[in-house]
Structures are given as structure tokens and as C-alpha cells.
Amino acid sequence: MAADNRYEEEEVRTDDGSPITKPRPIVRLGIFLVAHSPVFSVVFSAAGVLALLLLPLLAKNTYISENALMPGSARSMLSNRDASDGSKLVKDIKNFRLNHEGQGVEVQRLIGKYMSEMVAEVYYQKFQPEGNQFHPLHFFSGPASYTLLRNVSCASYGVNVVGIIRAPRGDGKESIVLVTPYDFINGGDYEDLSLGVVSSLFSLLSRVTWLSKDIIWLVADSRYGDYRPVAAWLAEYHTPSFKVSDQLKCDELNTADNFRRAGTVAAALVLKVDGRSERFEDILSIYADASNGQMPNLDLINVVNYLAVHRQGFHVKVEKVVSLLSSSWLKIVGEIFEAVGKVAHTLNPDWKFGIPAAEYIEGSATLASSLYSQAFGIPTGPHGAFRDYQVDAITLKISPGFPPDSKARQHDFFLRGSQLLEGTIRSVNNLLEKFHQSFFLYLLTSPSKFISVGVYMIAFALLVASLPMVAASLYVDGCKALTKSTHNSAENFKSWKWLDAAKQVFALHLLGFIVTLLPYFICQVPGQHSPRNRSIMWGTTSSLLLVTFVTIPGCSPFSSRLHGTNWAILKSVTISAAFIGLCLMSIINFATAEIGALLLVPTCLLAQPIKPALRSRRVKSLLGAFCSMVLVTIGFPVIFFAITKGLVGEGLVGLSLGGEFWTWLESLWAWKSATYLYIGMVHLPCWLLCVCILFHPS
């Protein structure tokens, strides 16, 4: 009996110990959220979209964060003499072109001569234009770890001219780069102007005493695009190759052994002058997006913007989506926000978040463009090449407000343009460390307004917050259902029911991975193929693979009837995979993740088997099934691509769509865009899984 008592006592103790304990508040909060997940997921998703729309309102004015920059505090030393130096160069080049048609490297020599007259060290660099190559996984590796030495042909190559001014106060360990892309064969009148501006500045910089960083002027041969020559020069600058290239023998211009360097690049400015602006004043456009949504430090843009607006009187703008400016729904949203802002202001004068509707529309259009170009992951100019080497760089594109032959205004233009560059260089020259004070992760809503990462992440976080909640609640439901249905089966592991579903999800992600890598092999197929044919090849092989995967038992979601897998668990695992993928992508490239979340989150949340919905014939469930069908249709990358093209105004149908899509993807991987990886390895598998859930035989 005594023993019995002891057992009873122990029994009581264990009962107290394990199962019935009051959970902690945070656990209870979690349980509450999971239990009411449908409501919360709708609320959170709506809040996410609303927060995205609110972003232009939340934009802050830019400010110079690094004290050492001190833009505009020094008087410009640029004189008329320097500007006339620039004019002279432009005139000489023009005359030269008139006399010699389509010469090889004579223009380069002429520029080189000018540079050496300004006491600069001059050298020429040859480079090969490179075709598109498929580097799917090189996003993770550092720059230039994959330079391939290919056989060189003398038929096509470019020659860059580089001049270096050594800083009288520097130790040659730091430098600032100025780039002027210039087409030596058929450069227009406006392109000459960019040379004029920089040579005016160069002539000044060769005399000044305050320089502490060497100045490199790179005249990039833009015959094969703006980006390629700059990238080639940077690759040579940072990773010297010690093999003698065949290129050197190609021409009389000897470029061997004279490549010079000038230390770490602190910042780079790319100057382009193109077509006349529609307005009378000169317009300065700033381009900053590098590959994969990387931006230069905000301080650099601030300095340029400050000097251009407050000192030189340029009209500064950044890119915007023009079609949004006239959209009526955006106007309505803007007016609503304005009204709300006014009401709030009357309630409490300290609340100042309302902005005029016009400003809101402007901000939204700029923001949309900013998001778009970041999501694309393709640099908007030659400055993108610098970002691969952690150098902050921007492109300044000036559209002068005068015809190219007006001499008087040209002189003034040179003066102002080179004063702007001088001021910027002076600020950067003051820096003791590399840019680090201000933001790297931001979106611009105007040249002087930005949204920092802390703000724009909220929109994304709200959007994806519903995913883990719904996944958890579905998991709990699925486990319950499974326990009920299979309580006699030998595979009744309470905690491991997700393994089957995880296997299927993994199989489809593997498929996505293979499909992502397929273009590499398709590119290897011998013979010339049009993009259309290639995309057809890709499509057929992918579908064949899909069919093979589906027939493998155990890993295809369609055969789940045999295993008795519950669709709720499959959906839960799918949502978790989508959540992980989106969160990862948000760190790599926020804009892609945001747009991807806008597509993927509703698709994943609404995906439900349509069979029961059709059977029940209730309006609500039919509507739900219809919505999920529509979302799944839109979510397919090709269709989404076609829709966006249609919105832009290019209608595409049938096979031409395939060709266009292939070309688009080709551009993505040519620029090592992580967006491509995202589409192939996160979006596509999750979309397929949603389709599986839709047609689940439950």
C-alpha cells in the first residue's frame, strides 16, 4: 500500500509538471494570432499594401550626414581660361572629325595629347566587348573571380583613354574617377560637350594645390555600350592579369606595360551629355541604381544635388514612371491622403504628414521607377560597374537647354558643369574614410527626398507577416485532420507529419533549380537559334522534367492521394518555403522581394482545392476559387511579363511573347541579377505548388 501511495503522489506531481500549465503571455499571444489567422492575414496584407501606398508620405528630406563633405563651402576656382580650354578641345575634335572620317585611334590620340599637355599621365587600354554569358550563381561570388580569357579577335576592340593627375597633397593611395563615355567613331555633338566639361575641370585640377586624392579621367570607348568599357577598365585596375594578351599585337598603338593605377577609388562620377532638353534650362538627371538594387551612398547624391540646385541652378530630376503621372486612381489616393492630412492637422497642429496630391503623385511615380529599376537588378548606367568594387558612383546626365552650336551658351555651360564637378570633387577630396555615414539602402521619391530601409521594410514585413501565421494555423489544422483520419496507421508521428509534404516541396524546388540552370545548357546547343526557338526549347524541356517529376512516386504532390497527405500541411509547408524565400530575397534585393510578395502572398494565401468549392456550389467558396484561379494565372512569370508589357503598351501574344521573355531573361542573367534566381528558385516552385493545391484531389 505504501508503494501505491508513492506512485499516486508521483503521478500527481508529473501531472502538475507537464501538461496543464498556463502558457506564457507571449505564447498565448502567438496562439491567439494563429487561432484568428484568417482575420489577421487579411488585416496584415491590407496594411502592407496601404503602407506601400503611404511610402511617399513618409519620405524624409535628404541631409548631408558626413560632416567632412562640407559641400559648397569653398569658392570655385574655375576660371574662364579653363572653360575656354574645354571649348578648344571640343573645337579640335570637331575639326578633326570633319577632316578624318572613321579613323582608328586618332581621336583617342588627340585626347591623350590634350591630357598630357595638362601634365597628366596618359595611357591607353584595349578591351574586348563581351557577349552575354550565363553566370547563374555568380551573384554570390566576388567580382572578377570569373574572368575568362577567351580567344581574342583583332576585328573588334575598344580603346579607352585614361589620364591621371597626381595629387600634390596625396600619397597616391586614394583616387577619384571621372568617366566620360564617348563614341570615338560616331559621337554626336552633345557627346563632345561632356569631354569639354571634364577637360575644363581637368585643366583646373592640374593646377590646384588642394588635391589630396589623385584624379583619374577615363574616356570610355562607348562603341560597345557604356557599361562594358568601364567594367573592363575596372577589372584591369583591380585585378591585373599577368598574361600577355593577344590584343596588344592588334594595333600600332602600344598599350603594353603602361597601365597605371592611383590607389583606392573613393568615388566615381560618370558624366554624360545627351539630347537637348525640352525646357530652356539645363536638366541634370541623376542615375544611381547598380546591379541587384544596390545604391551608392546617399551622401554622394546629396552633395551633387545640393551643389546642382543651390550653386549652379540646374534643374535636377530622377527617373519616374511617366504613365503614373496621369493615372486617375493615384490622384484619388493622393487626394484622400491630403484630406486626411488636413483633418489631422486641424486636430493637432503638430501632425504634419499630409502632402499635396500633386506632390504625392510625383513622389509615387519616382518611387515606382526606383522600385522598378532596383527590382530589375540591372544597372541604369556605367556607374553600376563601380558598385561591384564597393565604389560609390553615380551617373550625371545633363540635357543642355541650347543647340550644340551656340558658342556663348556653350562656354557658360562648361563653366557651370565643371564647377558642379569641382565642388563634388572637393567634397569627396575632404573625406578621410570611404563613404559610410549615410544610407546605402534607400528608395528615392525625388532628388531631395528618400525613404530609408527602416521605413520601407515595414511595408514588406506587414505583407509577409501573415505567412507564418497562416502556415502555423494550417499546420495545426492539418495535424488534427491527419490524426483523425489515420489514427490506426503505423505512421502516426505527431510531430513529423510534415515530412511528406516537405519532400514534395523540396522536389519542386529542386525542379525549379534545374529549370533555372537549363538556359546554360540551351545556350551551349550548337548553331544559331532565335530567342523564340530557345524559349520553346526551354519550355519543352521544363515541362518534360515536370512530367518526369510527377511520375516519381513519393515526391510529386499529385500522387499525394496514395499517401493520404493532407493539402493543409502541403500548403503550410509551401507557405513556409515562400516565407523563407521572400525574406532572403528582401535582404538581397528589397524591391524584387516587395513586388514578388505582392504577387506571391495573395496567391499562397488564397490557394485552396477547387474541387470541394465547385461541389459545394456556395457563392463564397466559388468566389474564392475564382479569385485563386485568377491569381495563379497572373502569378505565372510569363503571363505576368505579358501583362506588364501590355500595361506599358506593347501587346504581345503567342510565340513572340516567348522570344521577348527569353530576351528579357537573358538581360537579367547577363547582369547577374538575383531577380532571375528568385524567379527560378522561389517564385516558380511556389507557384507550381499553389497549382498543385488548387487541383488537389481532396
Binding site: 508529473t14 550563381l137 566576388g142 546605402f440 508521428f493 510531430s495 513529423w496 510534415w498 523563407i580 535582404i587
Partner: protein, 507 residues
């Protein structure tokens, strides 16, 4: 038959399926005899499948090895630490070849024995093959051996599990159909774990360290005392932290394999005694009516003697190989000293580098002590609580040391994850398994991204990578805590189950 579990138990509120296993098995037992032949076939099929999977994992490794240049795994901080990097080993070997101390220049910090074994292989090249091919092959072989040893451990544990269940009267048949083949599972988890594959292909020496640890456990489980001592000494020599395994190995040798708490057996026994009509089911030696098991002092002494002998051997060999370069003194300073004083602050997936990069110099010694004592503090309480499950205790020790190590790598995680798989039978009810799986997956994908953001893009900073490391540590802690609580719950469930049985028997 006193221990027949009546079907109505099924409806009573048992939460844990570890229990319901036994019940299910009993229900199926009626048909079992007719199925004997099928089962043998089934067994054969299963082992065939195991070999196919094991072989395919080896093939997968060989494929990955054939293009290591593109993968560039050996330079990842997650894979190779200052202690396990093969590059450093090659450097040490070169230094030694040039008649210099291999520890000169703070490049190499591993064992001099490893240097003599692996060093020549780093130099040997087969024409047309990627460099370090031979080393990679050694690591693949080490992985295979580890998997086989794990399988051996698992078989023993599985037998012990079945035996204990039968002793407790929860399992009647001599054939353990419902028991998962934990050895096969553990071996496959080890072979197919991405962490193992990455550290094998990424040329870190952790496969060899893992092999030594598993060897020690295998020796203990199969009661091959010299082997256990050898494994333990080598593992400790290679990476110091496995020294903590002395406690579990001594318990295994002294008390025997993992079993439910001794009280449960006594309980069963007492009930059996009360019902004298009950025929004795087991042919096992009768348990004494004490709450203590006999401790096999002799075996343990034997073990300690072998430990001494092997350590003497290792030390003599080391002294011999470092004869001209400062001897053992230098070795201890450069290997154990390096581990304990955390000299290398390059980023890894642990939490120490960041902290010691930030800490003021005059606090450094204090915090060094605090951080290292963390591991030691946990040894004793865990040993007391889990003394009836020494193998599980070894798993917990390894997991904890992999969290609190000074230079952790994913190879350590792969070791404890596969050891964890040895206890699938007990841990079927582990909570948060899906959450943990997602966490491990997310963290291991996030880690290279954060590193890229910090090192290559320059838009992130050290906090990004360190945040990831903290997240990783948190998930590991949750994993350990959940494993322990699942194991304790399993014991509780067993007890409850037995109590109910007895209650019914009496009625």
C-alpha cells in the same frame, strides 16, 4: 498473462505516441506470425534501400568534388575555421617541410599528427585532376566510416530499446516491428545532411574529428574499451571539446546503455512479484530490489588505463614530430591555447568572435573564463538528470559544445544532428520540429547572403552576420531544450503507461 494491454486503453487519454506504438504493435501482433516471411523480406528490402541511399550520397560527394573550383566552399567561414581549414594545414605542412615550426606565423593550429597524415596528401597531385583530390577522398572515406559506425551504434541502441520495452512489459514480441531502425536513419541523416556534405566537399578536417568522436561512442556502446579510449583521446587531441564525452562514456561502460529510469523496472518487478502466478517473461538476470545499479568499476578502470596509455602514445608521437620546433609546450600553446584564448577573431558562425572583438582588453581574461565555464557548468546537472541515458547525454554535450565552441563550423552541427537521429524512437513527439527545420534552413541560407552583403557588397556590416550567428545559436538552443524535454517526457509517459497497466492488472 498479466501484462496484456486491453484495447480500451486506446481510448484513454495518452498523448504520446511513443506509447501508442506499443499499443499498436500489440493490436497487430495477432497477425504477426503469418507475416514472418514477409517481414524478413521487408527487412531485406529496407537494408537494400539503405545501401542505395548511402551509395548515392557517396556518388553525390564525388560529383561535387570534381568541380570544387566553382563552388569555392573551402573559403567559406561557415565551413572552414582556423582549426579545420585544409589551406592552413597545407601551409603548416610547407612550413614543416622548410624546416620551420608548423605553428610559425599563426597559420596552423591543428594537431601535428594530422599534419603528418594529411600533409603529404595536400601536396600530391594527380595530373588533370583538381588539387586536394586525395584529401577530399580521405574525407569521403571518413564520412562513410562515420556513417557505418553510427549504424552500428544505432543497432545496439535499437536492440536495447526493444529489450527495455519488453522488460517493462510494453512489448511482447521478440520482433521489433514498430521500432524505427534508428541506426540506418542516423547514418543516412549523417550522409545526406547538407552540412556534412558541405564540410566534406569544402575540405575542412571536421569529418575526421567527427569520425574520432563517433569511434569513441561506438567503442563504448559495443564495450570495446581500448577502441573507446582511442577515439576519445584522438577526438580530444584534435579538437579539445570532446573531452567532455568522458562522462557519458564512463557511464555507458559503468552502467550500460540507454534505458528508462531504473525505478520503472523496479516498479514492474514489484508488481510481478505481487502476482506470483505471473510467469517470468524475461530470462534476464533479476534486478535487485535496490534503487541502484551495480557500477562496473573494473571496466571503467580498464578504460581509464587505456585512456592513459593512448594519451601517452599520442603525446610521445607529437613530441617526436615536434622535436625540433619547441616540443609539446609549443603544441599545447598553439592548439589548446589558441582554442581557449580565442586569438583569431575572423567571423564564423559562433558568437565569440564578435564579442571578443568588442570587449575591452582588460576584461578579456575575465570574459574568457566566463564563456568557457558556460560549457563546464552544464556538464554536471545534465549528467545527474540524464545518467540513465548516457548516449543521449553525449549528444547533448556535443550539441552544447557546438553552440559554445570558440570556432564552430557546420561540421559540428552535422555531428550532433546525426546523433540526434539515433533517438528517433524516443523523440518522435518532439515539439516544434517543423519550426526548427525551417529555422535551420533559413539560417543556413541567410548566412552566405549576410556574408556577401558585408564583405562583397559593403552595404551591410558585421552586425548583419553576427545577427545571423545569434539566430543560429538560438535555434540550436531551442533544439537542445526541446530534445531534452521530449526525452524526459518520454520517460514520464513510460511511467504513466506502466502505472495504468498495473492499475488494470490489479482490477
Amino acid at each position: 498473462m498479466g501484462f496484456v494491454i486491453k484495447p480500451n486503453i486506446n481510448s484513454s487519454s495518452f498523448h504520446l505516441s511513443g506509447r501508442s506504438f506499443f499499443i499498436r504493435r500489440r493490436q497487430k501482433k495477432k497477425k504477426k506470425k503469418t507475416r514472418r516471411g514477409e517481414m524478413a523480406e521487408d527487412q531485406k528490402k529496407k537494408s537494400c534501400r539503405f545501401w542505395i541511399w548511402a551509395l548515392s550520397s557517396v556518388v553525390f560527394r564525388l560529383i561535387l568534388i570534381s568541380f570544387p573550383g566553382n563552388l569555392n566552399l573551402s573559403s567559406r567561414p561557415e565551413v572552414s575555421t582556423p582549426l579545420t581549414s585544409i589551406r592552413r594545414l597545407a601551409e603548416g605542412y610547407w612550413l614543416k617541410q622548410a624546416s620551420m615550426s608548423p605553428y610559425a606565423g599563426s597559420m596552423y593550429h591543428g594537431s601535428p599528427l594530422l599534419l603528418s597524415v594529411l600533409g603529404p596528401l595536400t601536396v600530391q597531385r594527380i595530373k588533370g585532376q583538381p588539387s586536394h583530390l586525395l584529401c577530399s577522398l580521405v574525407f569521403v572515406i571518413a564520412d562513410i566510416l562515420s556513417a557505418m559506425l553510427l549504424r552500428g551504434i544505432g543497432k545496439k541502441l535499437q536492440m536495447a530499446y526493444g529489450l527495455n520495452a519488453r522488460l517493462l512489459g510494453l512489448l511482447k514480441s521478440s520482433r521489433d516491428k514498430g521500432i524505427l531502425p534508428c541506426g540506418d536513419i542516423a547514418a543516412l541523416v549523417y550522409l545526406w545532411n547538407p552540412f556534412t556534405i558541405v564540410s566534406c566537399v569544402g575540405l575542412s578536417t571536421s569529418p575526421i574529428e567527427n569520425l574520432a568522436v563517433i569511434l569513441a561512442l561506438f567503442g563504448a556502446v559495443t564495450r570495446r574499451v581500448p577502441l573507446a579510449a582511442f577515439g576519445l583521446v584522438i577526438a580530444t587531441h584534435l579538437s579539445l571539446y570532446p573531452a567532455t564525452l568522458t562522462i557519458p562514456i564512463v557511464i555507458i561502460l559503468g552502467y550500460g546503455l540507454d534505458a528508462p529510469p531504473i525505478k520503472l523496472f523496479l516498479q514492474t518487478r514489484s508488481v510481478e512479484n505481487e502476482e506470483s502466478s505471473t510467469p517470468t517473461v524475461s530470462k534476464q538476470p533479476k534486478l535487485k530490489q535496490t534503487t541502484r545499479l551495480p557500477f562496473l568499476w573494473k571496466t571503467v578502470a580498464h578504460f581509464l588505463f587505456w585512456v592513459l596509455l593512448w594519451s601517452l602514445c599520442v603525446l610521445v608521437l607529437c613530441a617526436f614530430s615536434l622535436n625540433k620546433y619547441g616540443g609539446l609546450d609549443e603544441m599545447f600553446k598553439r592548439t589548446y591555447g589558441f582554442i581557449l584564448s580565442i586569438e583569431d577573431l575572423s567571423p564564423n558562425i559562433g558568437v565569440f568572435w564578435y564579442f571578443f572583438a568588442e570587449v575591452f582588453d582588460f576584461f578579456r581574461n575575465f570574459f574568457l573564463i566566463v564563456f568557457h565555464v558556460n560549457i563546464l557548468f552544464m556538464l554536471l546537472p545534465l549528467a545527474i538528470r540524464l545518467k540513465h541515458r548516457p548516449c543521449f547525454l553525449a549528444f547533448i554535450y556535443l550539441a552544447i559544445s557546438s553552440i559554445l565552441k570558440s570556432y564552430p563550423s557546420v561540421g559540428d552541427s552535422s555531428l550532433y544532428l546525426s546523433l540526434w537521429a539515433l533517438f528517433v524512437n524516443e523523440l518522435v513527439d518532439m515539439k516544434f520540429s517543423f519550426f526548427l527545420f525551417c529555422g535551420y534552413l533559413g539560417i543556413s541560407l541567410l548566412s552566405p547572403v549576410m556574408h556577401n552583403l558585408w564583405i562583397w557588397r559593403g552595404t551591410g556590416n558585421a552586425n548583419f552576420y553576427f545577427g545571423n550567428a545569434i539566430g543560429y545559436a538560438c535555434f540550436q538552443i531551442v533544439f537542445v531544450v526541446e530534445s531534452v524535454s521530449a526525452m524526459l517526457n518520454h520517460d514520464r509517459a513510460l511511467k504513466r503507461c506502466i502505472n495504468t497497466n498495473h492499475g488494470e492488472v490489479k482490477n
